[in-house]
Every structure is written in C-alpha cells, then in structure tokens.
Amino acid sequence: MANEAYDVNKMPEKNPLSLQIDLKKFEKATEDEKKQADIMSESTSFFRDGMKRLRRNPLAMMSIVVLVIIIAMIIVVPSVVPYSYSDIITVNGKRDKTATNMSPFTYSKLEQQYIDEGGKVFPHIMGTDELGRDYFVRVIYGTRISLVVGVFASMIVLVIGVLYGSVAGYFGGKVDLIMMRIVDVIYSLPDLLMIILLSVVLNEVINVSGNSLLGRLGTNMISLFLVFGLLYWVGMARLVRGQILTIKQNEYVLAARVSGAGSGRIIRRHILPNCISVIIISAALQIPSAIFTESFLSFISLGVKAPMPSLGSLANAARSGVTTYTYKLIFPAVMIALITLAFNLLGDGLRDAFDPKLRR
C-alpha cells in the first residue's frame, strides 16, 4: 500500500494557482539513499571521548607535562647528583666546613682549590644550606616526600571514602542515616589536634627507628597518614554517597535488579562506572590538598623527621634567614606552588572533559 501511495504517475495534478509544492518533483529514495540515514558516527567509548576532550585543553596538558617533568626529576636526580640529602659536602674525602649558605652556582674555597688542582666538582644548582648540604638535592628529596605523601594520602581517602560512601548511598534508609551521622561526628573532630595527639601516642607505642622508609619519615608522618585514613575520607564518602543516591534512581539500575543482579554486581557494573569520573577528579584534587597539609605540618615542625626534608620543612628552615638567603624560601615555595597548581588544573581539566553536561 505504501509503495502505491508514492507512485509519481498517480499523484494528483497540481493546481497551477496553488501555492502547494508540486508533489511530482519528489522522487522516491533508493535503498542506497535510505541507508545513508542509518550511518552512524565512529564508535567511541566514554573514556576515549573524555581523553580526546582532555587533549584539547591546553592548561590540563601543560600541567600533565609539568607533573611528568617533576616526577622524572625526583626519580633521576638523586642518582645523577653526587650529593646526598643528609650529608655535609666533602671535598676529596675532607668535610668542607666552609661550604655553608652558598648562593646558587658558587663554590666554596676548598672546592675552588680542588677545581684549580684539576678536580671536578658538581655545581650546587641551588646553593647549600646552613649546615653545608646541597640544597638542590634536598629540594628534590622534599618534593619526593611531598608527592608520595600526597598520592598515598589521597589513595587512602579514595579507597575508604568510595567503599563507605557507596555502601551508605546504595542501601539508603536507616543504614545511610547511621553511617552519615558517624561521618558528621568525624567531620567535627579537629584534624590538627588529632595529628598532634596521634604523633605523641605513636611515639610512645611503636618504635619505627631503623632505616625503613617509614622509619626515616618518622612517627609524625605515620600519624599524618593515619589521620588521613581516619578523618579526611569523610568528604569523599559524602560525595560518593550523593552521586550514588542520584544514580540509583536511574531506570537501568531497576532494570538490572529485574534481571536478578545482586547488590555487588549493581554497584560494580552500574553505579560505580557512572560516578567514576567524579571520583577520579576529586581524588586528583585531593592530592594537592594533602601536599598542602603535609607542608603546613612540616612548617609547624610536626612533619617529617630530620634530616629527611620535605617542602614544608625546607620552607620552615628558610624562614629564619629569609632576608639574607631569600632563594632558600623561593625554591621549595615555587615547587609547592607548581605541584598544587598542576594538580588543580589537571583536576579541573578532567572534570570538564568527563562531565557529560559540559559536552558540546
């Protein structure tokens, strides 16, 4: 029936005075032409689509480059530069007591002598500190500690926050009520006080002297990690819970339940993949905040154990001589600024790239 209706010869004649379009001017679409309407755009996954948009964001790409350079530096520099972060500079086997508080790219008297005799001395790119240790290596080690603290702390926050938040959000009702009140209680605890108390207690309880990484970091750092694990995950838990509360209203979650899928499968396959972008973004933004907290704690002498440097403790040490040796404050401060700025911009870029509402 449909085919007859489109037969050109059976079309009614057009009245010459009528403004209607002459139906005879239309012709039937061929099978090929019909198929053209079906052709769909290139198949892209959500992740690839997001990455494509991230790559078009110059600020985010720049911060990735900065971060890659910093990470490469903290890996490579300690094995290239012949100084260590804890030892006073030695020239030809002798301790160089004159090599304190030097400006960038200068040599002490002993070093100058040694160079004149034909020896080779690696330049002090950022000078030396008040005890005669190479400042460049110390800044690099400080960056290493700060980054490790940042990444680990945000990992702890991520794991605990996502688990807690998804359970509270998914099961809802009374479970949610009780779990969220616990969060409220934790939220009200003063974090700084907790860190101080914990580090005092940990000093008494556990003995982490020795040469392990934790031993070198000191109990202050362990209490910092503990406090992140105990207190800082609540923000992430709230965020994840909120996301899950909205996502579980979607009909595809109902459809999965109708199919007989269990709670674990629904959370894993349906709910988490749909809020993963928000989680990744806030984890990326958590890193600079952890670095900042660590720097702040080191600044008030609650951070890493000496002689291990961190960016915060370096800045704190430089404070006393800030008028004379300004560069000693500038180097760690610039490093902190670069890292936090890069992570913040990257987090922003990730949010823009993966937020479906901002799609063009």
Binding site: M40, S41, S43, T44, S45, F46, N250, E251, Y252, L254, A255, A256, R257, V258, S259, G260, A261, R265, R269, H270, P273, N274, P356
Partner: protein, 326 residues
C-alpha cells in the same frame, strides 16, 4: 494477606487485593500513608495481554513494579505460575519475569556496550557455556528485535530513541521470559516508531508466546495490543473488560470520559462525537474522598457513593465495573 487464597491454575499471573502504601512525611513526626495502589486484583493467562490504563499518578507503574517486586507490597497476594511471589521465591522467578521501561534514555547504562546490556541477564543467570555462545545469543536477540549485528560493540548514546527501546526489549527477552511488564514502553517514542515497536511486541508474542502487562495511558495503543483492558483511577480499578467490549460499551463514567477524549482519525465523525469533560482535579491520594474515589468528579454521584466504596461486579461477558450506578 490471605494465606488461604488459592490461585487459578490457568492463570500465569494472578494478583489479589494488592495494596501498596508509601509513608509520606506530613509533619515533624507524623507520617501519612500514600495509598498509591489500594486493592487491585487481576489475572493474566499465558500468552495474553492485559492493558492497564489510567491517568498520571493513578498507580499503574506502582502495580507493575510491585508485581515484579521492585517494591515490597504493603498487602495482597501475588502469584506467578501458581506460586506465591515473595522475597524468597522471587529470585527463581526473575528469569521468567522481565520488564521494559518507559524511558529508553535512562533505562540503559551509558557506560556499557549494547552487547553487555543485552548480555547482562544472561550473565546473571549463567545461561551460556562460553563467550562464543554468549555472543551468539546476544546477536540472535538483536536480530529478533531488528538491530544490526554490527551495533553490538557500540554504546547507547549512539542510538536513536526507537533503537534504544529495541535494545531494552532485547534485554527483557534475553532470559526467554514468559511474562513481560511493559511500563509505558512506547510512550516516549514518536508515533511512527510506536507503531513499529507495538507491531514488534505482537510478533514476539506470536513467536514466543509471552504474556504482557501493558501499562500505558494511550487508549488507542492499549486497545490495539490488549486482549483485556483494566482502567485504574486513584489506585483502584474501576472497570475491566475485553478490549473490544470496553471500547464499544464503557460502563464506568470515568472510562466513558476517557474514551471520549481519544482523538478520532476522521474529522467528520470526530465533530459529531460528544466530549465528556470532567470537572475539577484529581484528588490528592493523601486525602482520598470517602466511598468511591471518583465521586468528586462524577456527575452521577449520589449519597451512596460517598458512604461506601463500590466493588468490581460482573455485568456479563466478564465485564467488571466498580460503580453503584447501573
């Protein structure tokens, strides 16, 4: 709940006096039950379609979701294949009962490929031996609903509304169910696509012998696809009859006004038809009128209607009406 209620063996699905109340906060400490569904009974035979119509908010969707136990009913007896549906037995029945959802945009997970969406019920019930068999089954289902095999690896956002609804239907068919609840399954589609999807539902019924509970608000669509039609108003069933019987001889004043609102495709006849326009608004389900829920808008309402709620009574030919007025 009536523990002694015995379902009819001929019925695939039987619902007796289903009640679904949601507690709503009306004050700081007070909660009033919102009677979304208040005593609904119906039965569906194998391979039969029951259409459920009524205006927005009358409890159609709630009935569907309570039957498939997305909600736990407040009261009532639900049976599938002679067995009582409760929180224990539902697990084994999931395979035989499926649902097609209203909104093809939110009922498919945007992070999954079409193959994974259709394959999910297969995964859950472990209906395949290996990856190859799973793929074959998914491709067969896609062919059944008229999708190309090459679409299997694509994501949902690349499809049009009609195609998405087909994906949703393929998912519902994956476990070879005997009963599918179509919750406004065509309402979100435009008319030409609606026709395609409805024809597909009918073809699938012929081929596979599934029974449908077809929930919709479009009387024309429901009349076309259903064997029997049930009309709901404010959580109660007001009339149920065979599709043609209900269409030609509506007895409840609410059904009469609903039918008079259906647009007629011939303008000459449409002009001569009398439109019954209801006065007032639907009462809030929190403050239901006493007696018959429809009496506040019914022009035949009497003293009796305000005092007692009419029960569904047979007026011959299996035509049940809940109205005092005869």
């Amino acid at each position: 709940m009536d523990k002694n209620y015995v379902p009819d063996k001929e019925n695939l699905v039987e619902v007796n006096d289903l009640k679904m109340y949601f507690p709503v906060k009306t004050g700081l400490f007070t909660r009033t039950p919102l009677k979304a569904v208040d005593g609904v009974s119906f039965a569906i035979k194998p391979g039969e379609t029951l259409g459920l119509v009524g205006e927005s908010g009358c409890g159609k969707t709630t009935v569907g979701r309570a039957v498939i136990r997305l909600y736990t009913p407040t009261d009532g007896d639900l049976f599938f294949d002679g067995k009582r549906i409760d929180s224990q037995s539902i697990g084994s029945m999931r395979k035989d009962m499926q649902m097609v959802f209203q909104d093809p945009y939110s009922s498919l997970n945007p992070r999954m490929t079409v193959e994974d969406i259709i394959g999910e019920p297969l995964d859950v019930h472990k209906l395949y031996a290996n990856a190859k068999e799973r793929r074959e089954k998914v491709l067969h289902l896609m062919e059944l609903v008229g999708l190309n095999a090459e679409h299997a690896t694509r994501y949902v956002h690349e499809f049009s509304g009609g195609q998405r609804q087909r994906i949703g239907i393929a998912r519902a068919l994956a476990t070879n169910p005997r009963f599918i609840i179509c919750d406004e399954a065509v309402s979100a589609l435009d008319v030409s696509i609606q026709a395609q999807v409805i024809n597909m539902f009918e073809e699938l019924q012929e081929k596979l012998g599934v029974a449908y509970l077809f929930i919709a608000h479009d009387l024309l669509v429901v009349h076309h696809i259903s064997d029997r039609i049930a009309v709901m108003y404010l959580g109660r069933m007001v009339e149920t009859a065979d599709a043609d019987e209900l269409n030609n001889n509506p007895m409840h004043p609410y059904t009469q006004s609903l039918l008079s609102a259906v647009p007629y495709p011939d303008p000459e006849i449409a002009k001569s038809r009398k439109r019954i326009i209801l006065e007032g608004d639907v009462p809030s389900p929190l403050h239901m009128p006493s007696g018959c829920a429809f009496r506040t808008r019914c022009k035949y309402a009497t003293e009796q209607c305000a005092q007692e709620c009419p029960k569904l009574t047979d007026r011959g030919n299996g035509h049940l009406v809940a109205c005092w007025n005869k």
